[in-house]
C-alpha cells in the first residue's frame, strides 16, 4: 500500500524534493502549492523539477542535500544523512531540530 500511494500520487521523497516540501508543510504549515513554490525558489528550479528524479538527482548533488545510494552508485564522498540536513536547513532557511541538537552536542554552536 505504501508503494502504491508513492507511485500513484507521491512526490518521491528523497529521490526528488518531496522531503523538502514536506519540511515546509510540517514546520511552517504551508499548503502544497505554496510549499512547492517556496522550495523551487530556494533550489533555483521549476516546480515541475521538484517531482523529477533526474532533475533532482543533480540539484541535490550540487547543493549537498543527500541522495540515496543505488546499486553501484554510492556517494561516500558526498554528505551523509546528518550532513545533508545541515545543508537543507541552510538552503530552506529553516531550523532543523536534529541539526541544532547535533551542533550543540558536537560543540559547533
Amino acid at each position: 500500500m505504501a508503494s502504491t500511494h508513492a507511485l500513484a500520487s507521491g512526490m518521491g521523497g528523497m529521490r526528488t524534493a518531496g522531503d523538502l516540501v514536506a519540511r515546509m508543510q510540517m514546520t511552517r504549515g504551508m499548503r502544497l502549492p505554496q510549499a512547492k513554490q517556496y522550495v523551487a525558489e530556494k533550489l533555483g528550479c521549476s516546480v515541475l523539477d521538484l517531482s523529477d528524479t533526474v532533475a533532482m538527482h543533480d540539484i541535490r548533488r550540487d547543493l549537498g542535500l543527500g541522495r540515496i545510494p543505488v546499486q553501484d552508485l554510492t556517494y561516500a564522498e558526498h554528505p551523509g544523512a546528518m550532513e545533508a540536513k545541515f545543508h537543507i536547513a541552510d538552503v530552506l532557511g529553516i531550523p532543523i531540530n536534529s541539526v541544532q541538537r547535533f551542533r550543540q552536542h558536537a560543540g559547533l554552536a
Partner: protein
Amino acid sequence: MAQRIPTRLGDGSLVELTRAEIEADLHAGSEAAAKRAKVEPLAQDEIEHLLDIFTSAAKFSSVDYGDEVVLSYDGAGNADLAAPVLEQVVYQNHHGADMIELWHHDYSYKAVRTVLSFQTQMLKDAQMQTVVPLNYGAMPDLGRYSQPDGPAPNWSELMPLGKIAEAREAQLEAVEHLEKDMWCVVEAMVAAGVDGLDFDTAGASGDADLLATLRVARRVRDTWPDIGVEIGQAAELVLGMHGELEYDGVRLAGQWPLGQLRACTAAGATIFGPAVNVNTTKSLAWNTARTCALVKPVTAEATIPVHVNAGMGVGGVPMTPYPPADATSRASRALVDICKIDGL
C-alpha cells in the same frame, strides 16, 4: 448486455459492476455524505471524472505530472524487519516516503512513556541515518486511563447506569493523566531531535480524547514554534462520549472533518489528517465519492496542509491487510484530483 467492469467492495473483494451501476454508486456515496454531514454533493464534472477513474480497464491509476503530493506515512515501517530504525530507512529509500514516523508497537502515549528512554535513543539513532523529516507518533488513546487498565472510573460502565455526571467527571480525570503522559513524551522527543509529533487517531475515545490532544498541540506550538504537529483523526465524526466539551469556544462532539480542521488549526497543528471510514459492503466508487464529498470542503477552507488518512479502511482504501494496488491507486488519485489535498 452491458459490459461488466472489475472493481472492488470496501472489504477489498473483487466484484464486477456495469458503468451505470458505478455511476449510480458515485452519486449515492456523494449524496450519503451530503445528507449526513450537511456538505455539498460532488458536482457533475467531478462525478464524471471519478467515473473515468473507476471504469478504466487499467490496473493502476495515477495523478498527472505536477500534481504529486506529500506522503507523510504515519506508522512508517511494517515491523517485519524487527529493526525500527532500519524500517525508517527502508521507507525513505524504497517507498519514496516524504516524511517518516518512528513509533512503538504499543501505539499509545501511555505505553510509550514506560519505555521512553529506549524510544528517544532510537529516535536519535534514526535521525543520524535519515534525511527526510521524522515524526514521532502514537495514539492519545484516552480509554487506557479508565479502570481496570487505568486510574479513572470507567465512563463506559457509568453511562449505562445513568451516572452521566460521574462519567463526565471520570473523562476529565483521564484527560489530565493523558495530557501529562503526552507532554512527557513530547518533551523527551524534542530533546532527542524529533522534527515533529504525530498525534494519531485523535478522538478515538471521543471528544475528551480530542480535547486533550488539542491542548497538548497548543502547548507544543507555543513552546517550540518550529516543531511540526500533525493531528490525524480517528474517524469522520467526533463521538460525544462527554458531550459538552469545547475547544476555542466550539463544542467538539459531533464535529465532521471541517469542524475538526477548524479545531486543529486553532490548536496550532501544522498538518491536519481527516479520516473517513470505509463501508465494507459498499463499492469503492461509493466509498471514494463519499470521502471526496466530506474532504472537499476541508481543503477548500484549510490554511494548513491536509493529509487525508488513506490506509486500510479509511479514505476509500479497502479494509484488508493488503489493499490491492488497483483500488489504492484509484483512491489516491481521486483524493488528489477532486479534493486538491496537500498530502496523504
